[in-house]
Symmetry: C2
């Protein structure tokens, strides 16, 4: 959506193509240089940062919409993507929006009762993606993008800080009963790499030996007969996920007891 024609069509006829009152907001997590990062877009006019998102086509299954929106934005199709919450409580999600502001900021002609200004609930999805493979598309509404460290997210537009917080909380809870990493690490990775990933996500230290022991005992990862050369240091062994065990743990969860 970059040409003037496309934008006008979206603004004035979008209600014929998309469901109104509903949008999808995506919290896209990537991992890079031992930091957990989130992809944010800078909006034109508003001069602030927000989450990527989009609308659901009238006859499009909901999860297809979530995948499509991600694909359009990042050019990725194989990824972990999960619904985590519907946002419909904050004042921003209850009131109608202001067309005046929109006209000013984007310099577009638009009627007061345009579909974009109706009250809109947002379905939150979060994705775990391979940072290095992402190719971000901006569009008419967004002038640039940037990956932000999760510990340094600025105040965002709309209610998007709520969405980021909730996504992080969900991810941190979930990591205790589902394996994570398949989409955040290269196919072959070292113990220090996955160890650091988990420490980063949980934002706390994990004992190096115990951590490795646990993942191997659970059968989630296996050691390969290969090493990676990392310069003037001992070469770490490579590991890979054991696909069947990983999938099984995703399905059934890693559970504790009563």
């Amino acid at each position: 959506m970059n040409t003037e024609e496309e934008v006008n069509d979206f603004v004035h006829h979008g209600h014929q193509e998309y469901l109104t009152h509903l949008s999808i907001d995506s919290v896209i997590f990537g991992y890079h240089e031992q930091q957990l990062k989130i992809l944010l877009l800078k909006w034109k006019g508003y001069d602030g940062w927000g989450l990527p998102g989009g609308f659901i086509k009238k006859r499009e299954p909901l999860s297809d919409a979530a995948y499509r929106i991600l694909k359009e934005r990042t050019n990725l199709s194989n990824l972990f993507l999960q619904q985590f919450y519907v946002f419909g409580d904050s004042p921003y999600r209850v009131k109608e929006r202001s067309p005046h502001e929109f006209r000013d900021k984007f310099n577009l002609q638009v009627e007061d009762d345009n579909w974009l200004f109706k009250r809109t609930l947002a379905i939150g999805y979060f994705a775990l993606v391979d940072y290095s493979k992402v190719i971000v598309q901006t569009d008419f509404f967004t002038e640039s993008y940037r990956w932000w460290e999760v510990d340094a997210i600025p105040p965002l537009l709309f209610d998007h800080n709520d969405a980021v917080d909730k996504a992080l909380l969900t991810l941190r809870l979930q990591i205790y009963h589902q394996p994570i990493g398949y989409n955040l690490l290269p196919e072959k990775f070292t113990l220090p790499e996955i160890h650091s990933l988990y420490e980063t996500i949980l934002s706390k230290e994990l004992d190096q030996r115990n951590f490795a022991k646990k993942l191997v005992t659970l059968g989630l990862i296996q050691k390969l007969d290969e090493r990676r050369s990392i310069g003037a240091h001992r070469s770490p062994y490579l590991y890979q996920f054991v696909k069947e065990k990983y999938e099984q743990a995703l399905q059934e969860g890693i559970v504790h007891t009563y």
Copy 2:
């Protein structure tokens, strides 16, 4: 919504009061006679069973809507209520609905483009309620209600079996990392009661001594200096939840480690 006037107003003017394309479906769990049950409504015309649900008012916060719908249906206001999923993938949630069927079944005049026949996504909420305090209201569309055992849910209308399955799965996963019972048991309860509740929800046996030990060790329940008289048997001690610990565990979760 019982008089003809109210029903007509709902059908023909509901789109002015409610958000279109969105509904709330509630899976209401109650516990009675050592069985976990779900409240289902029998629809007129369709001659089948479905979940209670409703729509979101245009300026109503989402969670207020979920509470209101439950209150209208069960007359309960203090309860555990939680979003668990948005349903928007099944064919029933993608296609538009048939007004012909509706006209036939309910004998109402209604236009083809009426709001009720638009594609509608459902936000699933589940509630845990005190079975004995529920006073169920039926309305024009529903002729009766019944509590059904979770192991014997019949084929339901629409995509409601999906919702029941997902709610149960969520409840069973959640019980491993959040305490449950505050809304399903009387304020004071016996060990056998809560033990049987957990066995029922998880649908598996739990060792009596170990179970009690765990809950007491976690500090979630405490023994009272009172007993309940249960006829020709030894009188069991009463227990109650330790509110602070319970709330804390709800917030922070009961977590295992890496």
